[in-house]
Symmetry: C5
Subunit: 354 residues, 5 copies
């Protein structure tokens, strides 16, 4: 959540369109890789400088340029100039605190996505911004760090799996979005497993720490929700966009990925319900335990207070206390005490407190 | 709920349109049964292979092909090719974690439905996906397991009951959807009975286990809700769809089934209100019992503490304690004690704590 | 609420349009009464059989046929055929678990309404379904039991009160709907009185039974809400319907009755707020009482525990306990005890616990 | 709230358009006052009978007829006939339980408003219905009681302040609505002061009575809300109404008053938040106090119970109890007791209970 | 919040369009400063009187007139007349209790904004109204106090940074709005820091004062919300406005600032969630502590009550009490007591109360 919150103030007051990278520099060196393919041929290249992109401008084959690392703003500026991107688009690419959104600029469509992944040291979900520019014969993607989610698409291009090699840039962009969306399912499942485990743990034994964990998960889900709702909007807009960049044949695919975003949101809501159910159960267990504590106290107190009182009576030192001299007095007192205790026990039994 | 959640990740990363069955294989062997009828004649057949469907492609009579068992993806592919279904439709048929939805593909309409039923060993509701493809002169249905809900429609076709034999494919599709929707009423009634029983049980005696049951029912209803709202949308879209596949004469029937979905949702909301009312009553009973426990404790403690104190006074061993020597000292103390206890009792009576 | 819930399953699986009565047979014999009137003349008749209705089909005067008792489905079928009603309309008339709704069938408009009344033995509100068919020169109404709400309209027709005799069928239908809607005001007022009484009772003395009553009223209001929202929709649709059956002159009247439905819903929401306010007050009173109980317990315990301890000290049997031999020892102990008790009392006074 | 609730049932069953006054007769005698003005001249008159209004029908100057007192329904009928008002409009004028609304009847626009004021004996807010009819060259207003809110408008007409004398009937109607709306600000401010005072009172000392007051204010605000939302709708409709009765020049004024209604609703919502915040604080204070009570009890009990037990030990009468004979036995016991008490005190200190 | 609430009543009853300043006079003297620039030249001037503005009316360069201090209503009136502003616009400029809004008056667009800042003595956020009038070749801004937020824009004009000197009035207006919006990020961050600190403080130690602080922050956020939602609407309206005053080239910039408002609202909602999470944690900690208190009480009481009872038994003075004479009686009693205490401890251990 902090990332969403903290990012923007760094550029407050700067002229609009100023390209400033606000994240931590997460990769050593910006990497520019190109995959250029058509039905028949494919060519992969690792570019040494942004200038080499020029060769791909206006090429009729499908060109996918992937930029990893956003701290080198000059490089971004250079690429932006080459493909004639609006200054605000470049600003949005570098400013990684964007809300997922889609903008149709006529000659190209700009999309900002959040890719979720779990880092090695497994504490919570981390979001990385992926910017995607879909042009007439190119797709540009900008990532903060290298990610394996796009590898599956690369693999499909290389192996000519499915339809990807026979389709245009729009299908490539769709494939990339689809792989990002599919990744959400994986993230949600992991979250679901944690919630399920928590649920079981709570039912078994309610510890105060679980509360902290529940609240932590809640915050995480609020963050996910913030990513997912605009994502759904983004895909919905893409579906209804009448840009000439998107072929009519893509419609069922976009509808499909739109359906997935709805389903992901459904799942997230299910998880929220489950989590809040877990919280309710926790609360109930705590309250039940409290009740039990009180009941034990009451039972003990109500049994022993009268008994102690009776003992107190015959501990008095009056000179004239006839019972004290009765030979069976002591036994009689025990009798009274047992009767009292038994009466109380029966009373509690009836009240179902025991 | 898990089924909605777990299903999708199995296909994450695969090319779109890949047909993968994600459920457990629930039937031994895929069964393909055909009912082909017109006003005058009817023919039922059990097909040995998908290829035999070819005979029914383009036939002018109403053809209903029902496929039970979705694990044989080659077979699905074959049928899909025969009827020219979009790869994504086939993927959705096999991927049984779909949200209920309707897609008009021009030449045919695809619908994914959730059929609910209660298994023999009565623990909760189970949802099975039923996919339905309505074409110009055929209806394809795909089920995970054999189900008796469609039997009623089959019977009506065989016995020529109602209008079904005089109407087209659209009416058949409507009848199938209607039978699925009607089945929800039955499921909701069973749920209603369980909630009613729970309500009565809670009012009689609030046990901690009932809470777990309430939370279980809540989750079940959340799941039902997830099925019902998209179902309503589906039927609503069907009603407003202007496809040439759906005759104008069908309009009142679709409006009728749409009304039913609204009513089912109404009923579900009623059940939710009832369940949450039950939860409130449970909470109140628990809290009342706690109050009673505290009251008993307080009454006992406030009566016996002063008495024990008095007894303690005269248990002291001071040499000079004149009262101890009074002949009526002991009786006097008893008098004081009785007066104190009576006073307390009156006080509690006034406070309505007794 | 049960009625909404239980009704439908009886027809699950039957062909659509099957006329089945799902309620309990509440009248001995179906009654068919006719009022036929124009500006100048009026004629009332009690029909012996459905066939006699035929005389009124196509008559240019305003004909109101009222059918009481829905168990004789053959009779309904006969009337339906006579006036050319759609099978689904007949099904809806007989199936009394309908949600209020309006359907424009071109030649006639069908409406299902819920009429509320309180039975003699005053336990809660009972809903009866009233179906209304507005044709070009006839109005059909179908009721489960004879009801006095329509009597006011009958009286107006007989006495020519207001405009009713100069207007057409649409005005008659409007008058009937208006009388149903007006009846809701009466029902809500009775409900309001009960809630007001409950509110006063709670403020005076919170008893556990009132909770049950509050929850009962809540359920009743949920049920009312279920009736009222679709009713509002119904009247709204009627207002915006462009059917030739409804004259333009009726517009202000329909707008008026629409305003009434909004006001009824407003009133219901007010009652809900009031009821939930009552619940809050109940909860607060219970919690306050609990607090008071605890405070009494604490005050008593904290005063007497130290005192009893002091008494216990001097009840010890040590051989060397100088105080025991002091002539003023006993008095001194009393002094200490009084000082302690007074100190405690002052402490509690300051804390405002006393 | 009751007024909204109770009013309508008095007319249930009467023919629509029957003029029945449902309020209490609050003025002795109906007063009809007229202000007739144009840019150059102004004439004020107190009419003796409704018939005298006839002189103003069709007059080209701006005529404002104000009727105070609605119990004389014949008089209302007479005026209604004179200005050709629809029977339902007259019914709405007399039936003071109306929801604020606006109806464009073509030749005139009818509006029902709620004017709020606080009576002398300051208990809560009272609502009075003001009906307003805007015709081509007249404005009719109907009030239950004389009110000073309109006096400001009268004064402006008399002194020619602002633009009022140069504008038409629509501006007069706007000015009246504006003065009603402005009055809401005053009422809300008074309410805000009470809530602020309550808030301060609660923070200082939470008394059970404040709860009753909070609930009372809550009900008042629910009532205000019921008045304000339809008012906003009313003004919004007026703004978007394309009646020829409203000049284009009025648009910014209507937009302005619409902005005011939104702002009033905003303020009301702020007050609601503040009130519910006050309730939360009250609850917390009560709960904190309870906690403190329990803590005191626990501290006292856990300190004195062990001490009393120790004293009890040496109060036993065993013949063989060596400690009793030790010369320093008594001192030793005191030592143990002090140590125990000190230990407990340190324990509580660490737990931050003291 | 009070400012929103209190402001309006001062003008209630005055003719619409009366210019009345409702705030406290916060600056000594109204300051009028002008920046007039085109691509090539720039001229800054501090005007001595409103009359000097006349020189800039109709000038083809971009003229930005900034007025600080709103108490001199004659001056406002003079400027308003010069630029032909509607009286209601002038009223809104002076009446600083406006809700953020935008009005397109054809020849100019009027906007009321809330600029937030934190005063030196850091208690909460203060809102200042900034009114902005965008004309064909001028921008007027009206502020209550001098503010440094606009300085950044001034600096950019002076240094020709970014595009500002090459664009028209619309871009200047956009830049000013953008700087106001950017400022919200800063304010939200400061708020976020306070909430984060509070969150940490609560987790470490829940004190009653934190509750007051949480409620204070809640009120502040409600106030922010009141500012932000209309701001978003304002920017959205500006974006979709088809005024000729706004060039098509501005569209991406307006879309960008619209995106920022959405993001700010998102952040605010995140902070609300976080704050309410903090409240939940506080509540839980308090409740846990209460539970712990009760548990300690119960453990102590249930251990010592039976022991004290046993001691009480042998403190009785019966003549015949054989145990008292047993040589090992005393040791035996100690044994029983230790056994009882140990048993209790084991019981509590099992119950996990210790």
């Amino acid at each position: 959540m902090d990332s969403l919150l903290k990012k923007h103030s760094g550029v407050a007051g700067l002229p609009p369109g100023t390209v400033v990278y606000l994240g931590d520099q997460r990769v050593e060196q910006t990497q520019i890789s190109v995959i250029d393919y058509s039905d028949g041929e494919i060519r992969e290249q690792l570019l040494a400088s942004a200038g080499e992109c020029q060769a791909y401008v206006g090429k009729s084959t499908v060109t996918w340029i992937n930029v990893v690392g956003l701290h080198d703003t000059d490089l971004l500026q250079e690429i932006g100039d080459m493909f004639d991107l609006h200054p605000l688009v470049l600003e949005d690419i570098a400013n990684t605190g964007q809300r997922p959104k889609m903008e149709d600029h006529g000659d190209y469509i700009f999309m900002a996505l959040k890719m979720l992944y779990r880092p090695e040291n497994d504490d919570g979900v981390v979001a990385e911004q992926v910017s995607l520019v879909l042009g007439p014969n190119y797709v540009l993607t900008f990532q903060e760090v290298e990610d394996d989610v796009f590898d599956r698409v690369r693999e499909r291009i290389r192996t000519s799996a499915g339809r990807i090699r026979n389709m245009g840039c729009d299908y490539l962009a769709y494939s990339l979005i689809d792989s990002v969306v599919d990744n959400y399912f994986t993230v949600l499942e992991a979250l679901g497993d944690r919630i399920e485990a928590l649920h079981d743990a709570v039912t078994a034994k309610a510890k105060p720490e679980t509360l902290t964990e529940i609240h932590g998960l809640k915050r995480e889900m609020v963050y996910l929700r913030k990513c997912l709702w605009p994502l759904r909007e983004l895909v919905g807009n893409l579906e209804s966009d009448e840009s000439k960049l998107i072929d009519a044949k893509l419609a069922p695919y976009l509808r499909d990925v739109y359906g997935h975003t709805i389903q992901i949101i459904d799942n997230l809501e299910s998880l929220r319900d489950m989590l809040s159910g877990t919280l309710d159960i926790y609360m109930t267990i705590v309250s039940n335990r409290m009740n039990e504590v009180m009941r034990v106290l009451t039972v003990i107190a109500t049994i022993f207070m009268p008994l102690t009182f009776i003992a107190g009576i015959y501990g008095m030192n009056f000179e004239v206390m006839p019972e004290l001299k009765w030979p069976l007095g002591y036994a009689m007192v025990w009798g009274i005490m047992l009767a009292t205790a038994t009466g109380m026990a029966i009373f509690f039994k009836r009240k179902k407190w025991l």
